[in-house]
Amino acid sequence: MKLIIAIIQPSKLESVKEALTEVEVFRLTVMDCQGFGRQRGQTGLYRGHEFSVNLLRKVQLQIAVNEEFVKPTVDAIVAGGRSGGEGEIGDGKIFVLPMDDCVRIRTGERGNEAI
């Protein structure tokens, strides 16, 4: 079991969700976050005063999957999350973490069944 954490552009949330649905990943958890990375493009303007926006709005997805789903899930996120054909700085990252166990609160089921 793995926990896949993906940081994507907020505007890609819908297309990533669609891509995930196509590979039959239906369950995920979403959080707002701010990213600080190589991307520096966005300029804010405040009171006639431009500034490079330091932390950028991102969305984080957390998806627990069984081993065989790791590759399709990662590929789907990459496909849905990339801007244009070539991708742009700021498109984000995917982290794959090992996971020891998973529990479904409703039933108390554990392990691969519970994902």
């Binding site: 505007s11 707002d32 804010g44 303007l45 950028l56 709005r57």
Partner: protein, 478 residues
């Protein structure tokens, strides 16, 4: 004794309010007085030269002018306050990411509207005797002509301008809600200038300027049709030409609601609009001095209140019946629907009629919103159901329920006149603005790109977040 009486006539009366031009600025009094000079409003002189009876008449006129001018000024302030109400309603019922854009549109359409109305709109709308095409198109002139001192009229032209420009700004700002979330800011400024400078005042002149619709006997007391339907149908044109926001309808045609991000702002806006309407409708009595006028002014406020209340209740119940939950946004729109519907006829209907008109307005709003949804037209705040549809209903309801005006003999005839005039004005607003929006589209300046829309107009058009988070603001917000 006689001398005393004469003195009374010639000297005693004139000082009625004379001379007491003071001003915060002691010394500026002189300035104001000199203004009065220019305007030749020196009663003492006028009085001294007049016969006794005239003196008295003059004073009565002076007194009525004072009351009318000051109350109209207060009503104009109330109507201008509606700009804040519209801004809050539109902000609340749209996405957070478009907040700055909506506010910028609302502030700027007022500012631009004032300038355009000053330079051309006001004259176009109230041509007096100066028509280019009699009854159809006034002659444009600029600036407010201050009152002729010898015949000050019923109220000051400055107060009149303020009151009327507030109406023009209302018509303009209605559209803002219908086109929210996808229109370029520059294009909006262009649209806004065209509406307040040309479209609104021209059709306005047909009725309030004494043009051909007025001659027909068409009645629209405070502008259900002249103001609200014009804004509503202009907005409809905009919503159609722009197309729906991204994600508003799925590929297979399902409607996806995009909830407003702050219902508290929306409700605050509706309360402010309700309050502002007490300037809009009662203020349209235009003269308030004298018991008959004062009574009429407040009776209008009464019917306005009844219609708003009935609209809220009817919309809430309709929504509750249809969707099994009491939908607040519908009740809010219902208040506005009731208010728009009574606007044309608040002066000429009975109390129970006001309740019926308002309730029908409230119900219509709900149905109108559902209808637009079916037609896949995306009007984020319901500008057309509220102002367009209820505006039309207000125009027609005037024919059904309103006291017959002079020159119209039957209810049927009245309904016919009202319906025809309403259709003419709505068609004018719809088709001219359709042209404007199509032209803007043809030049490629109408709609932002999909990417910009997704990111939100705030950041893409204005480079600013309305509610920047911690990170974005460098830790300043914790």
């Amino acid at each position: 004794m006689l001398t005393g009486l004469l003195l009374f006539g010639l000297v005693g009366m004139p000082p009625l309010w004379s001379g007491s031009v003071i001003a915060q600025d002691g010394a500026a009094a002189a300035g104001a007085a000199s203004t009065a000079d220019e305007a030749g409003l020196i009663e003492t002189v006028a009085a001294a030269e007049a016969t006794e009876a005239e003196v008295v008449t003059f004073d009565a006129a002076d007194s009525a002018y004072t009351i009318n001018t000051l109350i109209m000024f207060i009503c104009a302030v109330l109507v201008l306050f509606m700009q804040a109400g519209f801004a809050m309603v539109e902000v609340g019922l749209n996405s957070a990411k478009n907040t700055v854009n909506i506010l910028a549109k609302n502030v700027m359409d007022l500012a631009v509207g004032v300038i355009l109305f000053l330079f051309i709109g006001f004259a176009l709308m109230y041509p007096g005797d100066s028509w280019l095409v009699d009854g159809y198109l006034g002659e444009p002139t600029s600036f407010v002509v201050r009152d002729n001192p010898d015949a000050p009229g019923d109220y000051s032209s400055s107060a009149d301008f303020l009151f009327q420009v507030a109406f023009a700004a209302t018509a303009a700002t209605i559209v803002s809600g219908a086109v929210a979330g996808r229109m370029k800011f520059g294009a909006y400024l262009v649209y806004s200038a065209v509406l307040t400078g040309l479209i609104y005042p021209i059709s306005g002149s047909w009725k309030w300027g004494g043009g051909f619709l007025d001659d027909m006997g068409f009645q629209d007391f405070a502008g259900s049709v002249v103001v609200h339907a014009v804004g509503g149908f202009a907005g409809l044109a905009g919503a159609i030409v722009l197309g729906p926001r991204l994600g508003r309808f799925t590929a297979d045609g399902k409607s996806i609601p995009l909830p407003g991000h702050n219902i508290a702002f929306a409700a605050l806006g509706v309360f402010i609009l309700w309050i502002g309407w007490y300037g809009f409708n009662p203020g349209s009595q235009l003269t308030y001095a004298g018991a008959a006028n004062a009574e009429a002014t407040t009776y209008i406020a009464l019917t306005t209140t009844l219609a708003a209340s009935a609209g809220a209740i009817a919309a809430l119940l309709t929504a509750w019946a249809l969707f099994s939950k009491p939908d607040l946004t519908m009740a809010l729109n219902g208040v506005l629907g009731g208010l728009v519907a009574i606007t044309a006829n608040c002066d000429r209907v009975a109390q129970w009629e006001a309740l019926v008109i308002g309730a029908a307005g409230g119900a219509l709003v709900v149905l109108g919103i559902l209808m637009l949804d079916k037609l896949k037209i995306d009007d984020p705040v319901g500008a057309w159901p509220v102002h367009g549809l209820c505006g039309v209903w207000g125009g027609v309801a005037t024919g059904i329920f309103g006291d017959l005006p002079d020159g119209i003999e039957s209810v049927g005839g009245f309904i016919a006149v009202q319906s025809i005039a309403t259709v003419i004005i709505c068609a004018w607003a719809f088709f001219t603005m359709l042209g404007v929006f199509l032209a803007l589209k043809a030049f490629g300046v109408l709609r932002v790109s999909a990417e910009e829309e997704q990111a939100g107009l705030d950041i893409s058009e204005h480079g600013m977040h309305a509610y920047p988070s911690d990170g974005v603001s460098g830790g300043a917000i914790a």
